[in-house]
Subunit: 266 residues, 4 copies
């Protein structure tokens, strides 16, 4: 049996990568693209993607459901439409797999409650890279034993925000298992402000920005006589695809909505 | 209540570090040193360790048990005596915590059976560094998702054997969760023999030996567009102490013998 | 005054990147593309590159020279045509900047002699990445003081050959300044063949091949109590452009042909 | 002919390491220890060092010179006595090799002038590790081509000051060859203060402090599509010895005083 997927966000770069990845999977098919324009056209007619088999574009969720009866919604859109897309999916018994970040805490809570009531499996993952998620998960596991931690995240110099979202998420996951405590020497002196990095419950975060860099993070956990380093390098968008495919299969087997890919890795 | 420990291997460097570490713990006390010579002397009289409170040396296990009634045997000796020490400990209801490597598979099996019959908790750990054990454990966890793996282990150039025991143990743990498969290009050519390293079920192991180095290992797990690197640096012997202390407390609560510190980390 | 460049190899990916890089430079212009076909067309008509200003294609070197009078030949072609292109350039007083690898030692010698006789500046560079060339240059400089060296080169698993050309070149540059000597323990034992890597005059080279990786190299130089690591990561083709632009300016000022970008970095 | 050395600072750990290193060199001999106490005793009588051949202690520089006629003063003392020691050495035609840091800029200038007038070779080196000095030297060389730079220095958590002296010295050497410029995105936002590190002419310095660490530094130089990383790890005090021995030989051949080991590495 073929798994039928509706894709929202086909025009983005992540959407484009997802089309290519899913086309290689024998038992998966993208049966429809959800968009706000070009209803009735096919993706290749809209020059969105050079797919062999035409994927029809729908602007109406209801009509899309009736005509294609999808199993899963893969949503790679933007914060302004993702909530509605997810709500419609859950209402229609379609499992949402969502990579869009920017949903508020309240929205996530409402959608989780709604999905669980309906018994519809779903996943919202701010990061679909399995390697990155394992780095975060292992950091939290190790932090129970090695409690002095610094994070170095490195990105290209076109990134505006520091620290990165992944570094903040890593710190949060560590904070859940580790007591806050002062790190470094108690009389520590910064002769140049900022040298010791950003502080978050004692942990330090350092943000590197250089031309050439892509997306990298190192979590350093130190103890007497030893150092454990967990590093992830993300070289291109293809690193998100295995996580997306794994999530698509996983939501079919569950009856609740989870937040974070780490919850479906064991 | 104070935990009473008998130490075997007090004259070695690990033994010496263990004395210092345990002396700092309020509810632990080394009540005796087990040795083959100098019965009746104290460790400081034998110039073994400059301990404040004299630790008496025993050459007879039976007499040691009668006079000091220890809870735990910490064995940091050599392969030729460790089996007998452990056997005697289990027989006398003393929990063994053993860092000596070199026990055969059959010996470990016999001791495990004996300890489990007697309901005596124990642990044999080839590596007491929590950081190193986490690196190995995480490697095996990650290998289920990122199946292409290379290990780089780096040691000082006075190390005779390659690959290191830790690298081999890591590979074994990975082999338990991952299918063997050819890595690299199928038409791969080594223009200089050895360039691609040692092969073990498709995994590659590379051994670096340089003056200056201590003990380091990196496990590289690659997938499309990403790399996860798990690295451990061991800078000195003090990195083994937290694992030893954790094991001493853990064996009191268990009724079986386990092999590998990873089994008492959750 | 504008520097007039003829490009050979416009249809390749390096050629395409070079067109984009040169178009951003105010005082440089690509006045012609040298090719074996499509004489008389413009690059955009051949769908080679979407350049704003048409670059005319020539199949005849002589006619190209007469009609465009270029200062510099930038050759990013293949081993089978590069010798003739360079010879023609030198004969016509056009300075060659050549990134094509695969010229034989004899060919390089002949071209060098010819260029020097004619007083024509030129450069053949197997690697135009300034960072990679500095890594190699620094390795050779440091090898005079830190004589125990291992090289780890890491590439994607679609690379057939091991070790990489850059690793071999690095080793050669080090061999010029360092005496051959046995590294590691004199009684060293490989329990798994290949663990200690490829040997070249005592130095060890280790080749990592993993999906996800791009092109990376680390040179480790060890001595008592310390380690110096020189690492280069090449993330994409744009890293070659600054070296190409630097070479184009440099050949105008010199009257001889040099091999290797390191000769124009001071 | 044997090179006669007077050692100031024999009671320190660096002094102790220097005695061991020099004892292994055939044509070098420590003929005297300069100290403020225990005149007339030998080092082993003062329990300073367990040397086979007794090294006599002198409290008077004049008498030391008359009785032992040394060629070189190796000064590994403290800021309060080093100036006078160096002055006395130069006055008596003894070449100073000085590892003590803490001399003021004015003192260095005066001593340099005095040594150059007298034609006495000498060297003051804040860091005698050849690897560390090469890392700094290469950073400055590379900074001419790769102008976006971040420094990560990592030390044990007992270090009070941040950034480290080596990081500051590296930054200074880079500032001499590179124009100050803003690095990172022009609209960069720090959501947690300090994330982007300390700023020094656009360069960023990040200080890591963790238990277990020793002394490490990484200089990252980025450009389009590439990253050059120069890293030094200092594992123990023995890494300073080759630099000290090299300096002892070098000062015999020169007639001026230099500041920084980089000046005698070519």
């Amino acid at each position: 049996m073929t798994l039928k997927i509706v894709l929202a966000g086909a025009r983005g770069r992540m959407g484009s990568a997802a089309i290519e990845a899913i086309q290689k999977i024998e038992d998966m098919e993208i049966v429809a693209a959800l968009d706000y324009k070009n209803d009735g056209l096919f993706l290749h007619e809209d020059k969105v993607h050079d797919t062999e088999i035409g994927i029809p574009i729908f602007t109406s969720f209801d009509r899309l459901v009736k005509e294609t009866q999808p199993d899963v919604l893969l949503d790679l859109t933007t914060p302004d439409v993702v909530y509605e897309n997810m709500y419609n999916a859950i209402k229609n018994g379609i499992r949402p797999v969502v990579g869009t970040s920017g949903l508020s805490f309240e929205e996530i809570e409402k959608l989780t409650e709604f999905a669980n009531e309906q018994g519809i499996g779903g996943i919202i993952a701010p990061n679909f890279s399995i390697g990155a998620v394992l780095m975060m998960k292992f950091s939290a596991m190790a932090a129970r034993y090695l409690e002095d931690i610094e994070i170095i995240e490195s990105h290209h110099n076109q990134k505006v925000d520091a620290p990165s979202g992944t570094a903040m998420k890593t710190a949060e996951m560590i904070m859940n298992v580790r007591e806050s405590h002062i790190q470094g020497h108690e009389d520590e002196k910064e002769h140049l402000a900022g040298a010791r990095g950003a502080d978050i419950e004692g942990m330090k975060i350092h943000s590197i920005r250089l031309p050439g860099l892509l997306a990298h993070q190192e979590v350093l956990l130190g103890a007497d006589g030893e150092l454990l380093t967990l590093r992830h390098d993300s070289f291109n968008r293809s690193c998100f695809m295995p996580g997306i495919l794994m999530a698509i299969r996983n939501v079919l087997e569950r009856k609740d909505l989870v937040y974070g890919l780490e919850n479906i890795l064991d």
